[in-house]
Symmetry: C2
Subunit: 343 residues, 2 copies
Amino acid sequence: MEGHISHRATIIDIAREAGVSPKTVSRVLNDEPHVKQSVRDKVKEVAAALNYHPNFAARGLITRKNYLVGLTYERPGPSYVVELQRGALERLEGEPYRLIVLPFHDATERAEGLGNLLQSASLDGVVLAPPSCDLPELLDTLDRAGILYARIAPHRAKERGIVADMDDIGAARDVARHVLELGHRKIGIILGDRTHHASEARLEGYRLALEEVGLTLDRVAIEQGDFTYPSGEAAAQRLLAHGNRPTAILAQNDDMAAATLMVARDLGIAVPQELSIAGFDDSEVSRLAWPRLTTVRQPVFEMSQDAADKLLRRLEGGEVGPATVHEHTLLVRQSTAPPPAGG
Amino acid sequence: MEGHISHRATIIDIAREAGVSPKTVSRVLNDEPHVKQSVRDKVKEVAAALNYHPNFAARGLITRKNYLVGLTYERPGPSYVVELQRGALERLEGEPYRLIVLPFHDATERAEGLGNLLQSASLDGVVLAPPSCDLPELLDTLDRAGILYARIAPHRAKERGIVADMDDIGAARDVARHVLELGHRKIGIILGDRTHHASEARLEGYRLALEEVGLTLDRVAIEQGDFTYPSGEAAAQRLLAHGNRPTAILAQNDDMAAATLMVARDLGIAVPQELSIAGFDDSEVSRLAWPRLTTVRQPVFEMSQDAADKLLRRLEGGEVGPATVHEHTLLVRQSTAPPPAGG
DNA sequence: GTGAAAGCGCTAACAC
DNA sequence: GTGTTAGCGCTTTCAC
């Protein structure tokens, strides 16, 4: 009926065509009560015929909402990012909210610019993945700007805002416990970047497991890495290139564990017969490495979905309960085994 | 000066504070001419002091723009998605446009619903990755709705809309040629999802290379996959778990190639001594797998950046030239070698 | 150079 | 149940 190309129909068009007022059209389109069923049907029919799609800008101007949710993260591995997005998107599907991706560089050093970016994006809410979820100044800015936020696995101020959590310390404890239960006592640890709170938490988890068998951190060999493959390579070399080497190495992520695997191969050390290696993340590498890496799966998808869910409910005026702690999973694969007999 | 929490400043507030009219504020904020420098400075100063951020909804209502660019794709590997996003985001940085991610399921079967989704999202433009860039009905819908689109590596109707292209057939031919030049003649092929035209194109590239050495497709073992790791695993098993197996396998992407690597390892087949494997994509897994995978790097980042660039220029009223064809790169790594002597 | 008035498409408040 | 009026924050006329 309307032959005009690319003239987006408005509620006025529908109102005229259906012989009712714009307000009635608005009511129907928003599923508000107090409209006769026959009118309702007629309006919906006309809307469909006119290929009507509501104008977010006009609606948002008056409802003071933008129907936009942001997702921030900082350079994690591709699979982490994709899981993060999948979780939020799954929850947003069918809702009148759209997801905007906002990756950062050096969030910790530029919390201010980051707050500004989020404000300019006209977001209603934002899902904050580590490490941006742990920047108090950013949270302050968001509070002031009235932008709701949901934090994924925060390590500090867990009471602030909406939180979707996991037990980072417990996850690290579990992987360390697994290695200790296999009988290992000569342990090496490769730390991640110390500015990431995850690194601290994971070390604490290792410490707890060691304590259970009467060991302390000063009895293990600790090397500093920064979560990258090359840093893992260097650290592994320091741990392995001498006589009294550990029989098991706990790396704080899979990339560094994979690097350790490669160093062991170069040094002719058999994994897992002579050396056990455990990572962290269940990233793609951990499955593609050989032997496949024992690691811990973080519930990234679940946390992200939960974060988006709570965010949306708050945006719709609802209340949300306390932080949910999502389950991690220890994945015992081929890179860990009992220590060698003489070990 | 304004102590009110979460009251977003408007140009009216700035106008009052700066002692000018709202229109003048608008002029300054949009870098329009005909404003005295002193007034300009004063307005900018007040805007900063009031932590002003323009309201996209209000601006969009009148300019008929939403300052929103979409990015669509369908279940490709994590690294492909991340490259795609990185390219578009890099171009959008600093521009008043935001990126909305719109992953699809079964785009080819639901082109209509997909067109609807894009229309409801109130996008100004959209970057279409395969296979959605090859759905004529979708392009028709977008044309009708007045939504600009940039297509990444389309395989059909290359003249429609904005195009950022690559030579998919040539890339596949190059990798096949490499394997054939090593001396392999017993070839296995693992196909990707047949709804992706990329799969067809790559097969055509393989065919061209085979033809050059006098081979035809009916002389090679072809198995169907769908670009995922598990599908590659199953396909590799069918190719390798019997006596007369190929000496080289061409997988249509890296995930399936990595899966093939794993299957070979489980079967005790040495790579590359007994079996050569080549992938496609230069994804992260191709570099982390051991041996590292010979593959072809697709210029995904470049295409995505180019697509976003052309889209933005058109959105700003500019003209864009014809499709750019971005260069692929054959990456010979450790997973390919001459066939075994008796092979 | 600058400002006043109008209105984008929609919904809140209130009338009928 | 339904319609009228007003106005969200901004930019477009067009006047001065």
